[in-house]
Subunit: 347 residues, 4 copies
């Protein structure tokens, strides 16, 4: 059994890591920590754990010593905090998966420009691996430090990787219109996350300067071998979970919907968590929530010379905790799907 | 008092026309009709009317004779049906406002190609006026037959008219990603409108070939004086009302967010139902539902050379019944805002 | 025009008073105040007012001097605060309607026991009138200080008044199971009002000792002329507005559903805001939200000797702001329905 | 591996049985049938199965021959249909679990009176066992035909069994006010299950004569050894899953909340799926949905002499499919929790 710790267990992503690991056959959760909830039981902060044998597990302080018995630690903490915690854990020989942004970038200047803070562990960026298994599986297997991707980048990069990497189209600009459920905004109460303010309301936010732009552009450019820009507009939708990206790009080389669908099916053949839905299929968030799956569909419009890509996933699973566990499986030499192979739930 | 009739009162748009007219100071609702609900009272099909003096009004059959006492008739019926009903009403000297698609097009070939039916009253298209008051107010005042715009076209055309009409940018292609509440799909029960199937789910539908494409392109091209194409992707969102469009276009002439905002403020100065929200303001559907208002914000991204336009309205009001009543006011020489000047409701 | 002020305009109830008065034909809103939002415009805190001429109104400090030009002031402030503000306003000759609990009780001991605070203006309790117009209309007309009823008490008292007051049944105990939308919990952000925590969840709260028990019992006992107790269980439901009470009492004298329905119809005959739905009709919150209406249905079960009463209203309107405006109309000699006679909105 | 079939797989309960069995370590789903969806794949009707290896399973016709290779068959079909199908299956030596009402009653007269149909297999009622494992575990282990309980009865019977069976109170009447998510109403589209009609609306339905009254009364009387009546009022709540019962009974013998809680904890000690939440804990549907758990809390109000019991579960799991799989485990000699021991999901 692999012994695992979770720092920041009280948030939605940290809580999902815990939930997945409770049911994981090869993992023992050795310690869970939270700055604000120390000494409470996990069932106190997640009523969904009441009655389960794990419910009584105590939350410890955010102190690296508490994790001395762990082989691997998940960090589900604000950006900046992970950069402070990771070095001590790595020096003790542990593997680290950071669900935040601190180890997603290769270029520290990009990180510091978009996040507006100084990086306190920049020398680890060179060895950190961007934890998107469908794109960087082999490197993840050998990594000891993972920058787990953001939810929006995961949906947009999975949705465009075949096009970017196969060089079928000369891509300069992606226009990505994404819609996220409210759990993506975190668990802290805020006026604009109040039920009565959110219900029945859809809005855009973070236009032009959302931090995920930098992350998407760095990876997309790496895949394409040329500079790719993204015009990214996220929206908040009155639903708890689910993330849906509608991506537009200009067709440079003629291709049909059928041909493009085959390219994607070929690219993702054998991938356990990515499904390409051929026409007339279309993704919907309800089909992917509570799973680690990503559903993708494609349409080519010869009239307007647009390629339209639809990509749906669960922001807390394939967009955060599920992907983190998938990375853990790879890093620890386990079957990549262990603890993740759930179907969705309907309705 | 103007005597008004409503055919198709049982649907959501027809019901909203009735609700608005009940509170309108210069209108008397003389007759309401429905094919499926004949002889029931309006409160039987709209429990929100229970206890109101109008609740007992009887629904009559869809028979032009029943509307002989009316000055103006609203048609909230499927496309094709309005084309059958309108000629007889017009010949009796009545004004007609059709909330469907039958009289929105100038080119009958476009209508027949996108709607897949033969138009039975094509000779009326030449005199029918597209009922978007902010764009065609003077022609509406003199019209006797209005093709009331679709909900998506209203949001996209109001969001782009200043750019298209002022020639500030050479616009060839609009990329419009729109999101609608479920009431836009009509009142008939269908498997994919079942509460348990919709709740928590967001999906795209009608890609590439949604009928509103033709409507948007015809009007946008008219405004721009050149051919404008639209790549339009509608989405269904788990909320009852509200429609939000995120529109992208490529910046050809340099302009800033501030300058563009001023252009829009200038264009819509004095308009009672359009508000331009300057930076950092952003629209949200909750702020416009239950009103006839459209909220618009603009952002220019010099990095990607994209202009992003956000436009929010209530699909049943400014997107249907509210706009229809606004048209009625103009056609009847009344103050354009009569019966429509409600603030939104929060929360 | 009556000049009116609102203190605590930033909350949901205060905001609804403002919204109703904006459209009221005989009222001018002279000043609005908030402790936390001073100097902002009302449209800043209620985006639903953007574009409306009233949207730019400035919020002033909570200072009685700011209301010197007002004839009547609404207090939508926490309990205890109203008791501090009301005396100065009354001494300046203004009428006062308190939407909180400070002036709902005749017995200061009951108030202090259930609310756990000392009442700082207890000498005003003797003249304060409980503002439930259907029960105390004549006294309201002559009052200068109103304790506007709570949302749960309004629904339960309207649902039982005919039985209590007509002495048809010897009532000792009411069992009331009530369900409220989230707006009833106020606008302040709290962990358990976070959208992602509330959505999909129904729960009971405040069992046995909810403060509305005292209010219901005092008024019910007054109506019955004997002591009536209530076993009251409120529930929080994932919806924004609406309050639904299911009330059980033991049938002592034989009566049928039809007979009981006639008693209620007779009792409420001519009431503009109460509708009795005869069998097979049943109330639903969607039919009453956004209105000042209360819908009531009755069922007698001879098998179990239970009378079951269903009562639905909008917690922010008939349960708060709408009732407050109704009281204002009565106190100012206006038509009781002015500014309140809206139908519901569907869907 | 036990070979299992599901008839009526296309509905919500049948689909949940399939989902649970896909992940069950000792079961192979050998055949699934549906009258309306024959020859489609299960992923066609449950998009949540897209990408899973089971998604391609074909749906067969409702024909007993198709299930010849099965050891056990689940019937998730309308009442009346199960009575027609069960005899042939039993005669072939299969075990049968009926999720409908046909085999829940011992008294065929009660069934025929409340369901209004003639029972076509009444001679099987004597051997059928009511499948509530916490109450009838030993009999279930030996049964070959199970009448799987209704969702409301499960929540109310688990909530009252300790009181009824231990004779602590002389119970004559239970007053049960229950609230269910919309999935409890089935998957067929109907006007009043349309998203736009349900969202934001709470209503009572089926007053006085809901069929679950008969089921609750038969079992409660059996437990109490005397006649127990129930006054039952179900409500439809705008949420997908979850069922919450608030049960009132009159206290005859003095008892405190603490004492009563201990009685319940003692009664359910060792039960894997029932948790008693001591004061100040309270159940909420979000904590139990997606699990087979039932959460129960108790409050005694000495002031009104009322005992109030709160009971929450997932209507499709502990209220239907989960309980059915629990029964299967017992009937087949497996660990009762196999395939069911999931924690809840938050948020």
């Amino acid at each position: 059994m692999i012994k695992v710790g979770i720092i920041g267990v009280n948030g939605y992503a940290g809580g999902e890591v815990l939930r997945l690991l409770i049911h994981h056959p090869e993992v023992e959760v050795a310690a869970v920590a939270s700055r604000s909830q120390t000494n409470r039981s996990v069932a106190d902060i997640f009523p969904s754990l009441i009655g389960h044998k794990t419910g009584g597990m105590r939350i410890v302080a955010v102190d690296v010593q508490e994790f001395s018995g762990c082989d691997l630690v998940f960090l589900a903490v604000p950006h900046g905090v992970a950069a402070e915690l990771a070095p001590a854990l790595l020096e003790q020989g542990k593997k680290v998966i950071d669900l935040g942004a601190d180890f997603r970038f290769r270029d520290v200047g990009v990180y510091e420009a978009w996040y507006g803070v100084k990086h306190s562990a920049a020398h680890y960026l060179a060895e950190a691996v961007y934890g998107l298994p469908e794109l960087y599986r082999e490197r993840i297997k050998g990594a000891r430090l993972i920058g787990n991707p953001g939810c929006y980048p995961t949906s947009i990069l999975l949705g465009t990787a075949p096009l970017l990497q196969r060089g079928l189209q000369e891509v300069e600009l992606l226009i990505a219109d994404s819609k996220s459920g409210v759990s993506g905004a975190g668990r802290s109460p805020k006026p604009d996350l109040h039920y009565a303010e959110v219900e029945g309301s859809l809005k855009a936010y973070g236009l032009v300067r959302h931090r995920h732009v930098a992350e998407i552009e760095e990876v997309a450019s790496d895949l394409a071998g040329r500079e790719v820009k993204v015009s990214f507009t996220p929206h908040l939708v009155p639903m708890v979970r689910g993330l849906f990206s509608t991506i537009h790009l200009t067709m440079k080389e003629e291709i049909t919907t059928e041909e493009l669908t085959r390219v994607y099916q070929d690219y993702y053949r054998g991938e356990p968590f990515v499904s390409i839905l051929p026409e007339p299929g279309l993704p919907q968030t309800k089909a992917v929530i509570y799973t680690n799956n990503c559903h993708i569909s494609l349409r080519v419009d010869p009239r307007t010379k647009q390629i339209i890509i639809l990509s749906a996933l669960d922001n807390l699973l394939k967009g955060a905790a599920g992907q983190a566990v998938q990375n853990m499986n790879l890093m620890c030499g386990l079957d990549e799907t262990l603890g993740l192979n759930y179907t969705g739930i309907w309705p």
